[in-house]
């Protein structure tokens, strides 16, 4: 990567980190909301709702996807096509499985009568965890776009590296938020 490209890349990095700062504030406010309203005076107590198995399962998938993404990052840096693709593919699969588990979790909550407007606790749970799930879904779309970019000849190796690096920042960030969700949303109420 030559000097001018590096400068542009650095701009983008700084910009994206600031953007992640914005996301951090967003989630911080939602975490605060959750903590203010949970447990709610009426409606179910959180531990009646949460199922520890489900949380462990989804956490396993999402957190390991950060690891597989690192493989892809190394692949790009070393310019090893197969490594990159392998890492990305695994990440994509794990992400989709995570999202599936998440959707299933929401679905089973709703089946049991724990809907969005059942109580303020559940409302703040859904707006927070739901927004996180939306980020995962967006990330999945982004990864699919990356696969296509990877094959395009107009996209030079250095540009591809830039694109994937930015994505990996996003993905690690989304993973990091999940850790906080485990710690602040689930853990206090899972016995």
């Amino acid at each position: 990567m030559h000097k001018q490209e590096a400068a542009l890349f650095q701009d983008k990095k700084v910009g994206f980190f600031i953007y992640l700062g914005v996301e951090t504030i967003m989630f911080a406010v939602l975490f605060a909301t959750y903590m203010i309203f949970t447990p709610a005076a009426n409606g179910p107590y959180p531990s009646e709702v949460f199922q520890s198995k489900m949380v462990m399962l989804s956490s396993f998938f999402l957190l390991s996807s950060s690891g597989t993404l690192m493989v892809a990052e190394r692949g790009v840096r070393e310019r090893k096509k197969n490594k990159t693709l392998l890492g990305l593919r695994l990440t994509l699969v794990l992400a989709i499985v995570f999202l599936g588990v998440e959707v299933y979790e929401f679905y089973s909550f709703v089946q049991e009568g724990y809907g969005l407007s059942t109580s303020v606790f559940l409302s703040s749970f859904y707006v927070l965890v739901g927004l996180h799930a939306a980020h995962v879904a967006f990330g999945i779309g982004w990864m699919i776009v990356l696969f296509i970019q990877f094959r395009r000849t107009k996209v030079s190796a250095s540009l591809y590296e830039e694109k994937q690096t930015i994505f990996s920042y996003y993905w690690h960030f989304v993973d990091g938020i999940w850790v906080f969700i485990i710690l602040l949303v689930y853990l206090p109420y899972i016995t």
């Binding site: 400068a7 700084v14 504030i25 909301t33 540009l159």
Partner: protein, 639 residues
């Protein structure tokens, strides 16, 4: 007004008929001129542009347009309040409530913000030697998001669905149970969409200032407007994000039946916390850039460098920091208890100190200088005493026990118009007169400018000074009338007179712009004998600036170079200018969000989904049309 169509009767309020008529007439006239002068391509050009100066112009144009609209609202407010028990047109009860909601929301979000962002867009890159904003595409997107949000908010009025919850949108009044119409949705989505644009622009400005300064333009040599913009941008990032989440929660409350802000399960006061955690920093977001503009102008026209540059920068930072610790001063009466009240009273008072530093440093910048009374300087001079009056009433409000009396009266209305108009509005006027040559290549007429200044300043004091007293007489804000026995008739009438004087003063602006563009007298690159880098580039600033790139060796480098009689040294070893390519995509992305908002507002979920799909399609398209594709991987020959 009654209308019968297709066999059924509709009744349309006459103010809305008037609005439609005037918009159609203005629209037709404008179209006629555009077509006749064959200027359609200019509009198309601006819709695609990613150049910082052109985007700045767009911001300014719409900011001014909405200033007129919100100003007309203000005149209607004042007319209704002119005499006791007035029955002016339709503006009692509901219509009055809509009036102040629109006035306040427009003025803050769609007047003050774009005007300041517009000036930052134009002047900051030129002041620091950047060749454009770091992300030109994102800059255009920021503008068009603002545009989409503002258009959406304004549309509400034309279909008689104006929000009526005040600019603060207090819950639970803003929940669907109490304002069931679609009006409040226009508030929610209008602010959400435009707020997103504001966040992007702030981010862009930060990266530009941090990474695109000219060689030698150290942080200790940056003009104060650039400094103020930098710190303001950080405030925007935090404050507008909190607002975005507040609106997000309110949206769930209204659309999907959650109860965050309801009285029985949630907490209405939580909305107030979120709103003011945004709202208070917001007022400094309005004030700080103006402080920056005034610093540059006062220094330029006193022919002296700014007094105490270091403390000036430090105090901007301190004001910004303290700005996040005082929000409860808007909530002294909600019963958070004596400890909370006193804590926030003290932090609020503390802001007077850094602000005072700035005031005295401005005064001492003038001391020993040679003060030229140009129009921009007059606005800066008008600002100082006016702002101090507004600032000290702010300190009076911060005394929590006294605020039990002041709160929600016209005393508060007086306070915030004093500070906002003194800082933001006078600041924007000053900036417009000052940078007009850089924006358009023409200089505004000084004589008409002075007329504008004096009528506006006098009108402003006549309007808002009496409100301190009506407030103490017990006149609450947001009421559409009062009775003769309240003893506040004359003061209110005086206010109204002042408001119309301000209206008249704006006519001078229209005349001035018209005259200037008719005369077409081009100015040189440095009409004010300026000190900072923007005066080294031609007027109007071209698309390619700073070629070759100047090297900066001191504060106000251009000034000292002129004094010493040489030109600024230059270098060719510079980083690449931000890649830019005209694109209509930012416009389309913003429009798809407009569609999403419309869909959600009217619960037409199919439309919202269509808009959402369009939005993602646009983002994917963007990813495949990245202008970096043509640049990357080709070695250094592009440099």
């Amino acid at each position: 007004m009654k209308l019968s169509m297709f066999g059924s009767e509709y009744s349309i309020p006459t103010d809305i008929v008037a609005a439609w008529v005037s918009v159609i007439v203005i629209g037709l006239v404008a179209t006629y001129f555009v077509v006749k002068k064959r200027k359609l391509y200019v509009i198309w050009d601006y819709m695609k542009t990613t150049n910082h100066r052109k985007i700045g112009i767009l911001y300014l144009l719409f900011g001014i347009l909405y200033f007129f609209r919100a100003g007309i609202d203000a005149l209607l407010i004042r007319t209704q309040l002119a005499i006791p028990n007035n029955d002016f047109w339709v503006f009692q009860g509901e219509k009055y409530n809509e009036l102040f909601t629109t006035h306040g929301t427009l003025m803050i979000f769609f007047v003050a913000m774009p005007l300041l962002l517009g000036l930052m867009n134009i002047a900051v890159p030129l002041q620091i030697g950047a060749r454009d904003l770091a992300f030109p595409f994102l800059n255009a997107l920021g503008f068009w998001l603002f545009f989409a949000g503002s258009v959406f908010f304004n549309l509400a009025f034309f279909i008689d669905m104006t929000p009526e919850v005040g600019w603060t949108g207090y819950a639970p009044l803003s929940r669907a149970a109490f304002t069931p119409g679609a009006g409040t949705e226009f508030y929610v989505f209008g602010l959400q969409v435009s707020g997103l644009g504001t966040i992007f622009t702030a981010l862009n400005l930060i990266v530009t200032i941090v990474r695109h300064r000219a060689p030698g333009m150290l942080y200790t040599r940056m003009p104060l407007f650039a400094w103020a913009s930098l710190i303001t941008s950080f405030l925007i990032l935090i404050a507008f994000t909190v607002l975005a989440i507040a609106l997000y929660l309110l949206m769930f409350d209204r659309l999907f039946g959650t109860g965050f802000f309801s009285g029985d399960e949630g907490d209405p006061v939580f909305w107030q916390h979120l709103f003011w955690i945004f709202g208070h920093p917001e007022v400094y977001i309005l004030a700080l850039p103006a402080f920056g503009i005034f610093s540059d102008i006062i220094s330029t026209f006193s022919k002296k460098r700014v007094f105490g540059y270091g403390t000036m920068v430090a105090s901007i930072g301190l004001i910004g920091f303290l700005g996040f610790m005082v929000w409860v001063h808007h909530m002294f009466t909600v019963g958070l208890g004596p400890v909370v009240n006193t804590f926030f009273a003290i932090t609020t008072m503390a802001i007077a100190v850094p602000t005072g530093i700035k005031v005295f440093n401005w005064l001492f910048t003038m001391r020993g200088g040679v003060i030229h009374f140009t129009t921009p300087m007059l606005f800066a001079l008008g600002f100082i005493p006016s702002f101090v009056i507004g600032g000290v009433t702010g300190v009076m409000l911060s005394l929590s026990a006294a605020d039990f009396q002041f709160h929600d009266t016209h005393f508060v209305v007086a306070h915030f118009h004093y500070v906002i108009i003194a800082s933001t509005i006078l600041g924007v006027f000053a900036g417009l007169y000052y940078w007009y040559p850089k924006i358009t290549g023409y200089i505004l007429d000084e004589k008409l400018g002075k007329w504008h200044f004096w009528t506006f300043l006098i009108g402003y004091h006549v309007t808002f000074f009496p409100m301190h007293i009506t407030g103490l007489e017990g006149m609450p804000r947001r009421v559409y009338t009062y009775s003769e026995t309240d003893g506040i008739f004359l003061l209110n009438a005086l206010s109204t007179v002042g408001a119309f004087l301000m209206g008249i003063s704006m006519l001078f602006v229209i005349w001035n712009v018209y005259k200037t563009h008719k005369m077409k007298v081009k100015v040189s690159h440095d009409p004010w004998n300026g000190r900072t880098l923007e005066w080294t580039v031609p007027s109007p600033a071209p698309v390619h600036t700073f070629e070759p790139m100047p090297v900066i060796q001191s504060i106000d480098a251009y000034w000292y170079a002129k004094l010493a009689g040489h030109v600024l040294p230059t270098t060719t070893d510079v980083r690449i200018k931000p890649l830019e390519r005209d694109s209509i995509q930012p416009f389309c992305i913003a429009m798809s969000l407009l569609i999403v908002s419309t869909g959600l507002t009217f619960r037409w979920y199919w439309l919202a989904i269509t808009g959402g799909v369009a939005l993602f399609a646009m983002l994917v398209l963007r990813s495949f049309t990245d202008e970096r594709e043509d640049f990357y991987g080709k070695g250094d020959e592009h440099a």
